[in-house]
Symmetry: C3
């Protein structure tokens, strides 16, 4: 099992504003331990009546959240206590995150791919460092259907055409392109990024928390996907990852350096082209 | 009560094209008199079978519509004759505006905040002067829930993430940023602005008015929020403005120059940061 | 009747990737012959379990698909065998195209107006050559309601405001503006265009076709207009084209060079302003 180091550093800066920093070296993978900590955080936030805004950022400027830890035993996630939604723990986290009474912000520096992108899409707002942020849903490149709901959230956010492109290209989208597509709210120069996010969060934290919650509830009512859309996508994920070809592709990706701090994780979008259709990796540089 | 000067200058340029110019010095506030004139205008347009396009602009290049006149007695609005929708007169105006058989255009030079932004969102198209236009929903900064439906219209127009940002930041969005977000159709250089809007309106006014109405009806059927979404937001507005803290914030804003022609109205987005969370204004310049 | 030259060149590059090239000189009009060939192509693709991606492009770098051949006898289209949807053959093509298990791409160089734009909107992705692509729904400029569903697809893709602008302006939208509006996924420099589209298609063709289909099915479920929205729009098209004023406008457009390779087709957006409201053409250059 993974170490017992906490995955989240929670800084309760004020009663109205929390900052949550992901830290899971070497590349900020999402694993069962992180999901468990997120469930605890959500339970606390759901019960807090003074909290207005939560900012999620990363201790690693190259990785917001790399993706799901696919080397870990799925039983670890299955062993987590069921959340109040009754869904798979990861869906439980994402659905409850979207429905939090607080406003949530993903402050994205570095890569947010796969489940990392799904997390960002489940928060309310996404700000991206112009020079550092990279978003993508790489799952199809490995043979898998994304399981955390981007097929529900992306079309509503960026329209059908761009949603399909993001999902089927399995490619990397930098901050400026992500802004043009509406995948993130805004691309902000990295030199200004922390100050920009801080100003936004401090500003919102100073407003009336009751009115803030009412505003978010009205927006939720017209913009959140119905819960029932999510479980079939997670089921398709499990079916797709069980296929021998997907297992083979994943094995090849590990051979190329997946989940290590190196080129495969830095440039995963282009590394996917090194996999032959039968799951064998090609030689040479991509 | 406010003066009896008409708030709308209506120029029936041709049977197919009207221009309606807001004029309510010093900052083009929306008040009961303006709402009453808008209701009369709507009744006339609803019955007109030759009219194709209505352009709304402003006599003041710094203010399209500043916001609702919150110093006025709400009884003045309540005393207006009920409109055909049976909703609050302001909602009656906005809902009927969206459903007009004509195409409506907001030609935005200057500020369009709060109810001014709500008006622009209820028209069909929004063109913005690059150098002069500023849009925003500042209500939350004063402790209030926006009442005229932006929580219904913005998510459908700009997506959930940017809609929540606009509503909870309560900040100013200039024309270029508003274009990137989809808050306006297009940002147009101010030097070209009047000619651009005129060309658009004259062009549309030259087309077959029957086909034009059919096109708009088809788009309405798939893009307008259901009427029932609006009244709960207006109710939340009244609840939120009745809170002592909101009254205190409004009083502080009036102390800083709200509803006068000056810095507070020019830069309202940044002036909101001068309010302490308990509603007291800080000293010094923002 | 038109010649029996095939309208589609189908290049089955690999079991996973087809390229379909429109060729119907002089300006790539859509006619009954093309609709019939598209129906046959769709039937073949619907039954193919290995095919992942279909790219549609044009043999003419100035015209992707000019628009519907309005000089042709409508009886030719009516005489086509009814498709499985039971809708008008053109709607049958568009609805089935959107629902194909494969990912479809419009690689747009040159003009895509009217039904040509409707075709592009019914494919999943739209890439546009920055220097060459022009999109538009010019129908209203001739007095007609667009019949192939852009009033259903555009609001969901670009939002209500920009959808209404595109439909009622009847104007030309170049690639960069179309990208800013979300009308196309992306504007790509023409020098890079073919390589860009090829890389995308080859990449997607290398992924697991089962997972790809599942992803598209999930996106379809939340982003396609309901079928019943389309037939009333086609009915409105036929009603509008039967009006004497529309017939008069069309006659004037033919007098100006419609459906010939020349200025009227190159700059149709501005040529529409040469039509007087009563359908008579003005003298001189637009």
């Amino acid at each position: 099992m993974t170490s017992q180091q906490p995955r989240l550093r929670i800084d309760r800066r004020s009663p109205a504003r929390w900052s949550v920093t992901f830290s899971n070296p070497p590349v900020n993978l999402i694993d069962a331990a992180m999901v468990g900590e997120l469930q605890a955080l959500l339970a606390e936030a759901e019960a807090d009546e003074r909290l207005a805004v939560i900012v999620f950022d990363s201790a690693d400027p190259d990785f917001f959240l790399a993706h799901w830890d696919i080397a870990a035993d799925p039983a670890l996630t299955d062993a987590l206590p069921p959340g109040p939604t009754g869904m798979h723990p990861w869906l439980d986290v994402l659905v409850r995150l979207s429905r939090l009474p607080q406003v949530t912000v993903s402050a994205i520096r570095g890569r947010a791919r796969g489940a990392g992108s799904e997390f960002a899409l489940a928060t309310d707002l996404r700000f991206a460092s112009r020079e550092r942020a990279v978003l993508g849903q790489f799952e199809l490149g490995a043979g898998a259907v994304a399981g955390g709901g981007p097929a529900s959230r992306l079309p509503r956010l960026v329209g059908r055409g761009r949603a399909l492109e993001i999902l089927v290209s399995a490619d990397d989208y930098d901050a400026d392109l992500a802004e043009r597509y509406g995948y993130v709210n805004r691309s902000v120069p990295d030199a200004d990024f922390v100050a920009f996010v801080d100003r936004f969060a401090d500003r919102v934290a100073g407003f009336d928390v009751r009115a803030l919650r009412e505003v978010k509830a009205f927006v939720n009512a017209v913009s959140l996907p119905p819960d029932q859309e999510f479980p079939p996508q997670m089921a398709a994920f499990w079916t797709s990852v069980a296929r021998p070809e997907t297992q083979q592709r994943a094995a090849q990706l590990f051979g190329l350096g997946l989940q290590q701090r190196g080129e495969a994780e830095f440039r995963l979008g282009s590394y996917l082209e090194r996999l032959a259709p039968d799951g064998t990796a090609e030689a040479g540089q991509p």
